[in-house]
Amino acid sequence: MRITDKGQILFVDMKEINGRVLTPSRSILIFLRPYPRYEEGDMIAAEGLFEQKPYDGKTFGILFASREEKIGRETQHIIMRALRKSRSVFESNLNATLPEPHAGFMKGLLLGEKTALPTDLLEKFKITGTSHIIALSGYNITLVGALLVDVMLFLTIPFWLTFWIASGSIILFVLITGVASSLARAAIMGILVLVAGRVGRPYHMTNALAFAGVLMLAVNPYVLRFDIGFQLSFLATLGLVYLTGPVDHAISSWIARIRWLRGKNVLPQKERSVLITVKKIASETIAAQLAVLPLVLYLFGGVSVVAPVSNLFVLALVPSAMAMGFLTGIAGFLWHPLSQVLGWGAWIILEYELRVIDFFAHIPLSFISVSFVGFIGVIAVYTGVALRHRIIGIKNKTS
């Protein structure tokens, strides 16, 4: 279920209609008024106007409830109940410490939840090409994990303990926030990084991505077609893995071609390392953007021109924002004032993000609409790229 500005929306599996059993079951939406609030596990009888129309491509129909009544409660497993409860407390901890739209933004970052965000902010995300930060990415979870490990090692906590605490927090995080598809993939990859560090084997993002993808599709094959978050972040990670090298190379040769830099390759060590870091972020961003470009054109009807630059500023602090938000939410379980102080830290980072996004959204011509990319076109482009890559791969092997 989901709570929006206009009321509550229930997602229901319809198993039977007019005494006829439906196989497979169809999913329908039930629109309810905002109050009284129902919780997951409530059994509800509703009547109202039923309209048979598709929604999101996977829904059979919508029931606009004119009257509804709670008729009981499903008995839940005690662990499930505890998890649901802790998720809602986690959310209200964030709500109690952060003002809006920061609280909604944080819930978007941590839980991948878009409903709490004002529409004008979502529009700005789109214009600046930063919508993907709301769809949890594996990369960010990896960074949050790494950040936790760093902090704990800095506090001279032994590595084996650090490993278990970090893995434990990621798992706890997934359990608390509910297993969204993007989050599940993110967590699988994040934990693999930690495991790789522990058993001393190098972490291959390709392997981790394939492993996470296969595992998730095995559990629920539908995400492949219907989960935009899955599609986008899978492609973005793919781009990160395969395109970062070539893009980085291109940027390097481009820099080398700039005249005033020529012969100045003897930069001091420190400045060069900063330059290399900036170059790395830039090429990673461009690689990810390139990989999702066709799909983004198809889904959002346009492309953000400022995306490579705005992402440079936005992404730098996303992992810290997530880590701060997670700590704020967790601290709320223990002691409210602690959670409040951490919340101020989270607020500063989020305020920075919001201002950067606002700044880039106001640059004229930052978003260009494209309307001629069809579904077939998208598939053709990706198939072409994959085939080309495959052929080159085979050629490289034979030669």
Binding site: D5, R33, P34, P36, E100, P101, H102, A116, W344, E351
Partner: protein
């Protein structure tokens, strides 16, 4: 990562601390005026007042949670308290946003009529008031709520305590109040309709004000000529949603206000409306 970059982290930390400290200093030391925000929250009312002594008042919450982002913008980020919340009446377009406000902010006192009204929204509100142990005061004419030496609310309606009473039209239990700061003032009509207006004019209530918050989103049931003559405002504000299905505000009301030489501000065309007062003069901010 952290161990290697300690200077960088220290620098970042001190830079951020500087920003926060100066922000706080400027917030508290700036010469302050009274600020009145008529929030644009769609078809519904939500008005926020912040006094020079940092007392904060919220009148109604609008139909959705949109009020939260408006508050987040109007209040400093560390501030999680609101001193006074006034619920003019329990209709959803005034109440629903307040429910989430009550969940997230510490509210010093709630002022409402307390009239009996059976909706799921109002039940939820009452339940929340009990669980949060919020102080509730039932409004009636003659009450004065002082917010500083020179500012406060005079409650003008209902004439007697309406708690637990039933009304065929809940608009007849409206909490009508006149806010004053120095010699400037605002009349908040809520959704009051013609009968309430006539009663207020009839008993000779102190209605004169610089700003009139026109009743019932500018509906033709409200803002009678008699009321305009008694209030004689410079400005009038109407809280109303874009392209709302009720056709508010009604053209007759808009014409009456224009004919009286009052400048009209509407949340559907002006967005958020902000007025400031130094205690001598009320000024609309562009």
């Amino acid at each position: 990562m952290i161990r290697r970059n300690i200077p960088a982290f220290l620098f970042l930390f001190s830079a951020l601390s500087c920003i926060v400290i100066w922000y706080t200093v400027y917030y508290y030391e700036a010469p302050r005026h009274l600020a009145i925000h008529f929030f644009d929250v769609g078809q519904g009312d939500s008005i926020f007042l912040e006094l020079p002594n940092h007392r904060q008042v919220l009148i109604d919450g609008g139909p959705t949670n949109a009020v939260l982002a408006k508050l987040g913008n109007a209040m400093p980020f560390w501030d999680r308290t609101i001193d006074l919340v006034i619920l003019t009446h329990p209709h959803a377009d005034h109440l629903d946003g307040l429910i989430e406000v009550l969940k997230r902010y510490e509210v010093g006192m709630v002022l409402e009529s307390g009239a009996a009204y059976a909706t799921p929204d109002y039940d939820e509100w009452n339940k929340l008031l009990r669980t949060t142990h919020t102080r509730v005061v039932y409004a009636h004419a003659g009450q004065h709520i002082m917010l500083s030496k020179e500012s406060g609310f005079d409650i003008l309606y209902p004439f007697e305590n309406a708690a637990e009473k039933r009304f065929t039209n809940i608009h007849d239990s409206m909490v009508v109040s006149r806010f004053f700061y120095g010699s400037t003032s605002v009349l908040f009509m809520g959704d009051a309709e013609r009968p309430v207006e006539y009663q207020l004019v009839g008993v000779g209530a102190h209605l004169a004000a610089d700003i009139l918050k026109a009743g019932h989103h500018g509906s033709k049931t409200s803002t009678t000529q008699a009321l305009l003559d008694a209030v004689r405002p410079h400005f009038s504000a109407i809280s109303v949603g874009r392209k709302n299905r009720y056709g508010h505000p009604h053209q007759d009301v808009v014409d009456r206000i224009a004919a009286a030489g009052i400048s009209l501000f509407r949340t559907d065309t002006n967005g958020d409306i902000i007025f400031e007062s130094d205690g001598m003069r009320m000024i609309p901010l562009p």
